[in-house]
């Protein structure tokens, strides 16, 4: 059965009329201790859920910042199995919804069925697999759903109406709209098109007056950008900028940055 952590969080946000702040960090960058510390810091700074990147040798959807973070994590010996064990360990201390972002081959190698069962048992709430489009992932998503693991598919600016509909239907937990035609950490361009796509996604995902939350991510850096994007969506995902900040800033400065992001997301 689903832990319901994500669902609970989204209904709370809706009730309070707030938008979700979902930061992304790389699991094990540069150590698991640092990741554990980052998770409590992010929670303290108002994260509604945390996306935990699983390092992979060939991250083809990622830009230079997350590629470098992934390399640091690989050097620390982290992989999908280690990431799941890590979640299991910190689950005793936190109830923040945790979403793994992993490429498909590690899941395939682990075994789709085994992963669908083991991940939620370890306390993972959802999974994002950037190189698994709806067509290839539908049966996995069905299986994962039965074990209470949300599978979040990505929709892109290039997806036409038919594909937006497909992605919206197949996604559970929330729908992830990729803000730009590009890789993680690329330059954001906020356009009317973005708002229109998000509205379309909201409309096509609505069923029985219930709509799946739509998160927007890729390229969001500043509190100003976070504010503008969140005004169009149900929340934002911020990855490269936070990964970069976490590796470069002193704790006080980092905290200030995270709080500014949180405050801007409304």
């Amino acid at each position: 059965m689903s832990s319901g952590r994500l669902e609970k969080r989204f209904s709370l946000l809706k009730k309070e009329g707030r938008k979700a702040f979902i930061p992304y960090i790389m699991c094990g960058d540069p150590t698991l201790e640092k990741t554990e510390h980052m998770i409590s810091l992010l929670e303290e700074c108002g994260a509604d859920a945390i996306e935990l990147g699983v390092p992979f040798s060939d991250p083809l959807a990622d830009g230079p910042v997350i590629q470098a973070a992934g390399q640091r994590a690989l050097d620390a010996g982290v992989n999908l199995r280690v990431s799941m064990e890590f979640v299991k360990k910190i689950r005793t201390k936190t109830e923040v919804p945790l979403i793994l972002m992993t490429y498909y081959n590690p899941v395939f190698r682990y075994g789709e069925d085994a992963f669908a069962a083991d991940a939620p048992a370890a306390g993972v709430d959802g999974v994002i697999i950037p190189d698994l489009p709806v067509e290839e992932g539908e049966s996995f998503a069905g299986n994962a759903g039965r074990h209470g693991l949300d599978v979040i598919f990505l929709a892109a600016p290039t997806s036409g109406d038919e594909r937006l509909k497909k992605v919206a239907r197949a996604s559970s937990g929330f729908i992830y709209f990729v803000s730009i035609t590009g890789i993680t950490g690329a330059k954001l361009a906020i356009s009317d098109e973005l708002g229109a796509s998000v509205s379309k996604l909201k409309a096509v995902s609505a069923r029985k007056r219930k709509q799946k939350p739509v998160m927007v991510g890729f390229g969001i850096r500043t509190p100003e950008e976070a504010g503008m994007v969140s005004s169009m969506a149900d929340g934002v995902v911020i990855g490269s900028a936070i990964v970069k900040a976490a590796s470069e800033m002193e704790e006080a400065e980092l905290k200030e940055y995270l709080l500014a992001l949180r405050a801007a997301i409304k």
Binding site: D58, P59, R81, L154, T158, R163, G182
Partner: protein, 406 residues
């Protein structure tokens, strides 16, 4: 069979951003096969620009040396730009132009596909960016210069193993970013659907010609086909025309590098397991948690962690036998063909010659073998000289003198 699959292999494992482009490509490709004008233009360029048909050459001295089957070489090394890669690159460049894409990108290992794509771009007036691992750019420096000469921008990739797979990652990132105006000219029968089928079809001219040529020369089909397999496009090009001829045996030759036990190789069938990489499900060199392993081969064009999904299917069906040749075996065959036939083969193709050397002697003297000579070796001369040392040629043991009286 599920669309885009060969048995359980293949598929389309890419970010959503690219899915619409792959569908658009699939439609455009299907339309082009029905478009008489497109086919006419392509066939005319194949003849007048690429120089097709390429000869099927009876290698008399090589056959004598092996002492068994009659060896025929399909001379893809004689195509314009010097390798079979041009068949596919030009086809896709033409298709891209029809689709209104003004920019081509491509990955390259040995540099032959990069040169072919840069050539197609120059011919058709398209912008061109080629991604190449920095290790490959070093060992195939001549081809880097050729690409630049042809007007392409060469972007060296220094991530990961600095070879073909890293160049593909970077090309996919570029495509994800510029997909609206860019076509990705994938160079082999790999990646997401429709690339494996489309590239095979553009390369199928090799097998169609070879089949007609051998029937004309010998009045019968060959007993055995041999081709090297990196991604596997020259092999699919040759094999595809003979798949229904049950009596024609086929062997695909992977890069055995320094030997399977050494771990430094690119023999996916001998040393890999099924996995999903860069868009397709196939055999893959990976560790126990699904990270991709580094590969090694003396030949940049075979130095890749996975293999075309149709090859995985043909292996499973038992239709094609897959084996490997080591660096040393390939280097020996590189020298052998040069001395015996006056043909300097690409190091990639030298792997196929090395396998022919193993199996031809045991075949009857009236049997026929076709070896796909997928490319010429000019690009490799400098690297081979570096590896073999300053005394080469002339220092390769007793073999040299023994070969000469033939």
């Amino acid at each position: 069979m599920k669309k885009g699959y060969f048995g359980p292999y293949g598929g389309r494992f890419v970010p959503e951003t690219l899915m619409p482009a792959l569908m658009e490509l699939e439609v455009a490709w299907a339309a082009s096969t029905r478009d008489k004008a497109f086919r006419q233009e392509f066939n005319q360029l194949a003849r007048d620009f690429i120089g097709r048909p390429t000869p099927l050459y009876f290698a008399r001295r090589l056959s004598q040396e092996f002492g068994g089957a009659k060896i025929y070489l399909k001379r893809e090394d004689l195509t314009h730009t010097g390798a079979h890669k041009i068949n596919n690159a030009l086809g896709q460049a033409l298709l891209a132009k029809k689709m209104g894409k003004g920019r081509l990108i491509a990955e390259t290992g040995a540099g032959q596909h990069g040169v072919a794509t840069a050539t197609g771009a120059a011919l058709l007036g398209l912008d061109c960016v080629i991604y190449m691992g920095s290790e490959d750019a070093r060992r195939q420096a001549l081809n880097v210069f050729r690409m630049k000469l042809l007007g392409a921008e060469v972007r060296e990739v220094s991530a990961g193993s600095r070879t073909l797979k890293d160049a593909i990652n970077e090309a996919l990132r570029d495509w994800t970013t510029n997909v609206r105006n860019t076509h990705y000219v994938l160079g082999t029968v790999f990646g997401p659907h429709p690339f494996p089928s489309m590239v095979r079809d553009f390369q199928s001219v090799i097998g169609k010609e070879a089949r007609a040529q051998i029937l004309k020369a010998e009045g019968r089909l060959p007993g055995h086909l041999v081709a090297c397999v990196g991604g596997g496009s020259n092999a699919m090009g040759l094999f595809s025309a003979f798949l229904k001829d049950k009596d024609v045996l086929m062997t695909g030759v992977e890069a055995g590098g320094k030997g399977i036990e050494s771990g430094e190789h690119a023999a996916r069938f001998a040393g890999g397991q099924i996995g999903v990489f860069q868009g397709a499900k196939s055999y893959l060199l990976q560790d126990e948690v699904g990270n991709i392993l580094g590969t090694h081969s003396v030949s940049a064009g075979l130095d890749y962690a996975s293999v075309g999904p149709e090859h995985a299917f043909l292996k499973e069906e038992g239709r094609v036998r897959y084996t490997y040749a080591t660096d040393d075996e390939a280097l020996e065959s590189f020298g052998l063909l040069s001395r015996l036939e006056g043909i300097i083969p690409a190091l990639e193709s030298s792997h196929a010659i090395a396998e022919a050397r193993k199996i031809a002697p045991a075949m009857p003297k009236d049997s026929i073998m076709i070896v796909n000579l997928s490319g010429r070796g000019d690009k490799d001369v400098q690297e081979v000289a570096r590896i073999m040392g300053p005394g080469f040629p002339g220092n390769e043991k007793e073999q040299t003198r023994k070969d000469r009286p033939l």
